[in-house]
Subunit: 468 residues, 2 copies
């Protein structure tokens, strides 16, 4: 059954590319009010197409750019597919080879082709892999293997201001069994990835204050507390010699990496030396006894993102400053609580302050919990099987391309998200000459054909098992 | 004998003040080329006055503003007196009560008087205390109790560019037994101070480098070394929990504070709580077991004067920067070697670098050794006795007002300097409404009368002892 759908997708590829190009010709730059009408035109184009495919589709207004919402019946599980039709601005325009809103096809020496233009990958090309897969199912089988709700946002590149209010207002309509999202990266050109987790975040700024004013170190040096020295010592003690974070209770709720996931990573052929070598490093800085992939994907981190205090200009000034500052952030996994981590950081600092010094903390927003998919969850297993069938292999990825909508879907709709994407790190996302591999596009469409089929099969098998 | 000299100084006070005012009316601002002729006029006025007093005096050209050099015979030891006739600029002019170059006398409610105007204290008032003392000796006794060489500089407020070349070129002419300098502070209104030491200095900048470029902490956090974390830890370990500097060999050549000096400090009525309280602190930050005065005057220090790295602007950026920077300085005492200290700092940093990170060091000039006068040195003992006779008490001070000329006199002429000054911290030096207490001026003149007498007596006593 799926074979005929795949054959249709293959035969229709040129038409699919043309439909992608048509969407890319709409300059739906969401951050610039001058393009508001173009954003709406992109939404209307998509809604019309979905309606034509048999979806109950509409353009839904928001205080910002509109959403596209579409529903289609199906026997299998109910999935919510999320994508966004808005794109980044195109400046600097002079760095583009051609008009960013008049997409073109580039052919490489090895015969591989890319489509170039704003939105080629992020996210018009990616969302279209799903739409074209739905089309292939409908045109060949007259049905979809799952019940599908589609939500296309128009403000992803400009802060998603309307997203959460919209999810709240339409929670009943949008609620499904789980979400599918196509806005992430592949592992490499030949290996698609399923992003199974988003690390959470706690972050903020600390200011340590000592003397009531800047002092001349020749007059007060030695006796007066130097806030830079104090802050350096405090932050230095935030990690131990084994790279572990020393904040009290920091590792509460941090699970060991899932063995299935770890095994999947071990098969990736990941070269830690090469990974670090590309950024000029050799020695993994994270927790001793953890692989580099664990360090970047499944272990929590503490980073100082900025530090400043005293005289930082040319030359020299023998000053003892009144205060010193740092910005810190923590990436969280498992059930680590962002509030608890931020509190532990504050306690770590306060405990080390002499009684005549103070610290002021400014949290960066409310923080977020980590989200991750269990490696044995049904949708994940089915999706991975479908990708293995299409590509010969697949990868369970860590948290490479974090996308905030996953948090909103989790907290407002109570749903997990399976993130499958076919973008590549060299797609020039947000940059001039953004492109999407036609291989990504073609096999992406085929992947979704298979994923929808596999998800439907799972449900059918379960239903038959119940009947039997 | 000294009594008649003192009586003359008392009787002449009004004339002395008028002579000070006459010098202050010459706007000898050395940093502004527009005032070059005025600088020369001040030098000529002083040379003429010294010649009139019987000195062999001349204005000696330099590539910058001229020096005044004057010699007078005497039986006692040969002293070189140093002062400077140039002054700071006067902006912002609108903050002055009156014309800064038309000095006036202010009388307080308690009857005490000050002379106000640019240079009142720094250094025209101070150098004139010495000149007026010479005048009193000459007018009453027809002689000076010491052989006196005077050197007045005209570039102290603008970098002293010509000073060291001049000292080199005229070393034979300027060499004496020791130097006297009047350009420092009193301990308080009623307690003159002899500044007995200048701490040395080693200073520079360190840059710690990790990744070859700035990284997104979401992609590399955990595995990639964060130079800020690294630098913070390294600098944090520069001091231990007892406030001691941990650099290898840092305390080599650091003597315990001279008991005589320590005893003198204990008599000062210094209130550590008040000293720290004025700058908003309570807990001495220096070495445990040392008094606050030792911490700021006689112990070596390590200070971080500036630190910066990563994102330091508004908001947040989850960056792992390629490098982090700090400016550090060390104040040295005893025979601490600035090169050795700077090397020890470099070694401290390098020893803590992972093998894939590097550090770059930029030393701030050649550094300087500390200079200090032994508490039992003859000129110091005589000077202190003279001050005690005039004021009822005196203090051996640490390194409050460091003046670079002391280093030059030491290194080029091989002489110690006894620094006696009658300025007060509230004299508004370098600021609008600079003033000098007439009490400082009057008792300053009397102090020098006594010091010259005491130094002469020391030599006479020694000579008589040899004869007997």
């Amino acid at each position: 059954m799926t074979d005929s759908v795949l054959a249709f997708a293959d035969a229709q590829l040129d038409a699919s590319v043309e439909r992608l190009a048509a969407l890319m010709r709409v300059p739906s730059v969401s951050t610039d009010p001058a393009y508001a009408a173009e954003c709406r035109r992109a939404a209307e184009q998509l809604a019309a197409e979905l309606a034509e495919l048999g979806f109950a589709a509409r353009v839904a207004d928001t205080p910002g750019h509109p959403m596209v919402v579409a529903h289609h019946d199906g026997d299998g599980p109910h999935v919510l597919f999320y994508g966004h039709y808005d794109v980044q601005p195109v400046d600097p325009l002079n760095l583009w080879t051609r008009d960013p809103f008049d997409p073109w096809i580039d052919t490489r020496a090895d015969g591989s082709k890319t489509i170039v233009g704003r939105g080629a990958s992020d996210d018009k090309g990616q969302l279209r892999t799903f739409v074209e897969a739905c089309r292939a199912w409908k045109e060949t089988e007259g049905r979809l293997p799952c019940r599908v709700t589609i939500l296309f946002e128009g403000e992803e590149e400009s802060g998603s201001t309307s997203l959460e209010p919209f999810l709240h207002a339409h929670a009943e309509e949008l609620k499904a069994d789980f979400a599918l999202i196509c806005d992430t990266l592949m592992w490499d050109r030949d290996t698609p990835g399923i992003t199974i987790g988003l690390r959470g975040m706690a972050a903020g700024q600390v200011t340590v204050r000592g003397p009531s004013r800047d002092l001349h170190s020749g007059l007060y040096g030695g006796a007066a507390r130097n806030p830079i020295q104090l802050l350096a010592g405090i932050l230095g003690e935030m990690k131990d010699a084994d790279g572990r974070v020393t904040l009290d209770g920091f590792y509460d709720g941090v699970p060991d990496t899932d063995p299935t996931v770890l095994e999947s990573w071990n098969k990736l052929g990941f070269d830690a030396g090469e990974f670090l070598g590309e950024i000029g490093l050799r020695v993994p800085a994270g927790e001793a006894g953890r692989t580099v992939l664990e360090q970047v994907w499944s272990r929590p981190t503490a980073e100082i993102n900025g530090i400043w205090g005293g005289y930082t200009g040319e030359g020299f000034k023998t000053v003892i400053p009144a205060e010193a500052h740092a910005k810190v952030s923590f990436r969280l996994v498992g059930t680590q609580d962002p509030d608890q981590v931020w509190d532990a950081f504050q306690a770590h600092v306060r405990r080390r302050l002499p009684e005549d010094c103070t610290a002021e903390f400014e949290s960066r927003g409310p923080g977020s919990f980590a989200i991750s998919l269990a490696s044995d969850s049904g949708p994940l297993v089915a999706t991975q099987a479908a990708l293995d069938a299409e590509w010969g292999k697949s990868a369970l990825l860590g948290c490479g391309g974090s996308i905030p909508v996953v948090n909103s879907i989790r907290s407002i709709l109570g749903m997990d998200s399976v993130m499958v994407g076919f973008a590549l790190p060299d797609d020039n996302i947000h940059s001039p000459n953004e492109k999407y591999e036609l291989k990504s596009f073609h096999k992406g469409i085929r992947s979704w054909v298979r994923i929808l089929g596999a998800l439907g099969e799972t449900a059918r098998a379960r239903a038959e098992a119940v009947i039997a």
